[in-house]
């Protein structure tokens, strides 16, 4: 199996990128919520600790999500609207990941102090989460408005159903 097939999730029977992105999107939004809870208040150490775990797990997920996402984007024809959507999706999410990496650095320094969620930590959380939400929304438009990756792995199954249903179908590619 070619590297492209691996990254597209052919082995899994499911595109890989949209499955992985649950991790950074979910954990980073959770980190922002926890920071909003902890900022300027005295809270249990649990809150900043959980936020730290969220940010680290999110970055680990993002490292995997980026190459898998590029593999889904690469076959899109340049003249299709999904290509540009994909480019903006990529740029915003990469920026988002960089902001979260910076956030981790700031968070690490402040963790053991009396004020674990400094204003700098909170601001980078807000900016990072905003970038990911907007970037993620563009990703959902790619799928649900433009059909990116839809029907890619199920072509054979649906072709057979269409043939049984008497449809004109193209010759299968070899």
């Amino acid at each position: 199996m070619k590297p492209m097939d691996i990254l597209q999730g052919k082995w899994l029977g499911h595109p890989l990128h949209p499955a992985i992105v649950h991790v950074p999107v979910g954990t980073w939004i959770m980190a922002l919520v926890l920071d909003l809870v902890a900022h300027g208040r005295t809270v249990s150490q649990t809150v900043p600790d959980l936020a730290l775990a969220c940010v680290i797990l999110g970055l680990a997920g993002a490292l995997l999500a980026v190459p898998a996402g590029i593999a889904d984007w690469a076959p899109i024809k340049k003249e299709r609207p999904a290509w540009k959507l994909g480019l903006y999706h990529l740029v915003l999410n990469l920026l988002g990941a960089l902001v979260w990496a910076a956030n981790l650095g700031l968070r690490w320094k402040a963790l053991a102090t009396a004020e674990p969620v400094t204003t700098a930590v909170l601001v980078t959380s807000i900016v990072g989460a905003a970038l990911i939400v907007v970037g993620g929304y563009l990703g959902s438009l790619m799928v649900f408005d433009q059909g990116t990756s839809v029907g890619r792995q199920s072509k054979k199954k649906w072709r057979a159903i269409a043939v049984r249903g008497g449809a004109n179908v193209p010759e299968p590619k070899h």
Binding site: H14, T46, D49, V143, F144, R152, I161, A162
Partner: protein
């Protein structure tokens, strides 16, 4: 309450909301599990990891239940005889079971939140929950990527077919209903002597053509109509419904058309000619 339903379907934002909301539970439940494992490894962390895991678990349950509401609305939109309906039912049931397990896990750990380590019983219950959630999440993904559920749905403004009408012609035209029962831009999904087709009502006429787009087999009965063209909900291929000719890609070949007409206020479907 069509307006509320349209909001829950995410029509105003051109994307369903359930798949966006599930990011949180899908991330938070495994995170809780990882924190349980961390609580056994990091001995000097006190009770903080156990408590962080508990918070993550509760947040997962809350966001999971919230996402379920939107998922159930999407579920009701799947045609009853669509092969994906069964997948969606399994997705729904397994997710409810997983949420139940996570709630049980939260109950089991509630009394020992001051301990430095998560006990085995709630961890195992959570672990089973994460395994089930992973599989049902996979099913949810296949609903979208294999079967195109909710893809392009927001563009269709008229009612969609909720089943397939079986027609057996025995060589003679069959009246399938009053012309007035079908509004302009609405469709009936039919099985005419085994040929699966879309019957579309346009201004002053009805047309019948193959259901499956010849690109990746998206459902044309869920497509949109403008002038005499149908647009596939998945990737936007367009066809002239009168002739079946492809007018815009990605599809490359024409649709098979079937004879249909309006006569005496009724919609008539003729026996399909041999392909």
């Amino acid at each position: 309450m069509p307006a509320l339903k349209e909001m829950l379907e995410g029509r105003p934002v051109r994307s369903p909301l359930h798949p966006a909301l599930v990011h949180l539970p899908i991330a938070l439940f495994p995170l809780s599990l990882l924190l349980d494992i961390a609580s056994w490894i990091a001995h000097d962390a006190g009770a903080t990891l156990v408590q962080a895991s508990f918070v993550s678990l509760l947040a997962g349950i809350a966001t999971g239940v919230f996402a379920a509401v939107f998922g159930i609305v999407d579920y009701t939109d799947i045609r009853a005889d669509h092969p994906a309906k069964k997948t969606a039912t399994a997705h729904l049931v397994l997710n409810l079971i997983a949420i139940g397990l996570f709630a049980a896990s939260a109950g089991l750990r509630y009394s020992s939140l001051g301990e430095p380590q998560t006990a085995a019983a709630p961890f195992i219950v959570s672990l089973i929950g994460v395994v089930i959630l992973s599989y049902s999440g996979y099913l949810g993904g296949s609903l979208v990527y294999d079967d195109g559920i909710a893809v392009g749905r927001h563009r269709r403004r008229t009612r969609m077919p909720d089943s397939t009408l079986i027609i057996r012609t025995n060589g003679r035209p069959v009246a399938i209903g009053e012309e007035s029962a079908l509004k302009v831009g609405e469709t009936v999904r039919v099985d005419v002597d085994g040929v699966i087709a879309t019957v579309a009502r346009l201004k002053g006429a009805v047309y019948a053509f193959q259901e499956f787009c010849p690109h990746r087999y998206g459902p044309l009965s869920e497509g949109t109509f403008s002038g005499c063209e149908v647009t596939c909900p998945w990737h936007g291929s367009r066809f002239d419904v009168r002739t079946g000719k492809v007018t815009a890609g990605p599809a490359k070949i024409d649709l098979r058309t079937l004879p249909a007409e309006i006569r005496d206020g009724q919609i008539w479907i003729h026996p399909p000619p041999k392909a």
